[in-house]
């Protein structure tokens, strides 16, 4: 056919266009898939003050606690419930953390039953200095909690400096909590990290 002769000659370099496209697609995929867990939301509370709240304690339905109960020293605030298996899995590590450091641990018992929760603590031990009872999950909503366990680290002024969604395990302790506690000046037993 005479028509195909009139086509401009293909430039050699354009042979590499498909390869270039392929490399771009692979690069986008590589970055996209290494962006981290999409199930973990960045906390909207980071670097912001812990919200005001008013609730009773788990141990005493007549005792009202407010935000002020969390101030004065750095504190780990752990949202947990008896219906949450991961909470049970992290319980041992939380207990250990209170033993090897001077960090204060405060619990928020989230959408749970008071009797069940007290029973749970009696069974597995109570590492909490204070447990706030959030039976309707309203405090949880204020904190942006969308699944227990979640753990917040506050400085002495009540500013949220770190949040963990999921269990606190030895790895999280080593890589995330320990350096931040050191920075906050929390006393930590020799031999940790």
């Amino acid at each position: 056919m005479a028509g195909s002769d009139s086509k401009p000659p293909m430039h050699r370099a354009s042979l590499f266009v498909p390869l270039g496209l392929f490399v771009v697609i692979v690069a986008v995929g590589y970055v996209g898939f290494s962006l981290g867990d999409r199930h973990v939301l960045p906390s909207a509370l980071l670097k912001k003050p812990f919200p005001q709240f008013r609730a009773t304690t788990l141990h005493d339905p007549d005792m009202v606690v407010e935000r002020a109960a969390l101030l004065g020293a750095p504190v780990l605030v752990n949202v947990w419930a008896t219906w949450c298996p991961t909470c049970q899995a992290e319980h041992e590590e939380l207990t250990r953390i209170t033993q090897v450091s001077d960090i204060r641990l405060v619990g928020i018992n989230y959408k749970d039953d008071r009797a069940k929760a007290l029973n749970w603590l009696a069974q597995f031990g109570n590492p909490y200095d204070l447990v706030v009872y959030d039976d309707d999950g309203l405090l949880g909503v204020e904190l942006g909690v969308y699944g227990a366990p979640e753990t917040f680290l506050l400085d002495a002024d009540g500013t949220v400096i770190y949040k963990r969604v999921g269990d606190v395990n030895r790895n999280i302790w080593q890589t995330e909590l320990l350096p931040r506690l050191r920075e906050l000046g929390v006393r930590i037993q020799a031999g940790e990290g």
Partner: protein
């Protein structure tokens, strides 16, 4: 009635009796007027469930979605929030994730720029190909070729 007839009847009866029981998960909320109800429904359809990757508050059975529906209802009916105030309230607690609408930041610029960029690249390619197409000029037929065709057609 045959055995199959009775079975079919039983199935129809059971469907009628048990389906409403299965559907009883639907929340019951009271509204002062129809406008509040419309606003509530629009908001829970628009906002995203924090526990789910791609489900709105209206479509999720996750406990947190139930809590947030209750919160949106409270804000709309009791607190008298505007739609934007409800969005801001949720964003302050759960972040941009719940809005389905990423803001233009250093982290998200690609999401916004890429479609526009691709559109421009596509338009550029289109123009380029069109111009190239116009450059191909078909050469006029020689007298011999015309005679050949005429000859061919008249045969």
């Amino acid at each position: 009635m045959s055995g199959w007839g009775w079975r079919a009847l039983l199935l129809v009866w059971a469907t009628g009796v048990f389906t409403p029981l299965l559907a009883s998960q639907i929340d019951v909320y009271r509204f002062d007027d129809a406008q509040q109800k419309t606003r509530y429904q629009a908001l829970i359809a628009e906002l995203r469930c924090p526990k789910c990757l791609n489900t709105n508050l209206a479509g999720s059975d996750a406990p947190i979605a139930q809590d947030l529906r209750a919160a949106v209802h409270r804000l709309v009916v009791q607190e008298g929030f505007t739609d934007q105030q409800v969005r801001d309230w949720l964003q302050a607690r759960y972040g941009d994730f719940v809005l389905y609408d990423p803001p233009f930041t250093a982290r998200t610029w690609l999401v916004w720029v890429l479609p526009i960029g691709l559109l421009l690249v596509g338009l550029g390619l289109l123009l380029l190909l069109q111009r190239r197409g116009r450059q191909v000029v078909s050469a006029p037929l020689s007298d011999a070729q015309k005679a050949h065709i005429r000859d061919y057609l008249e045969r």
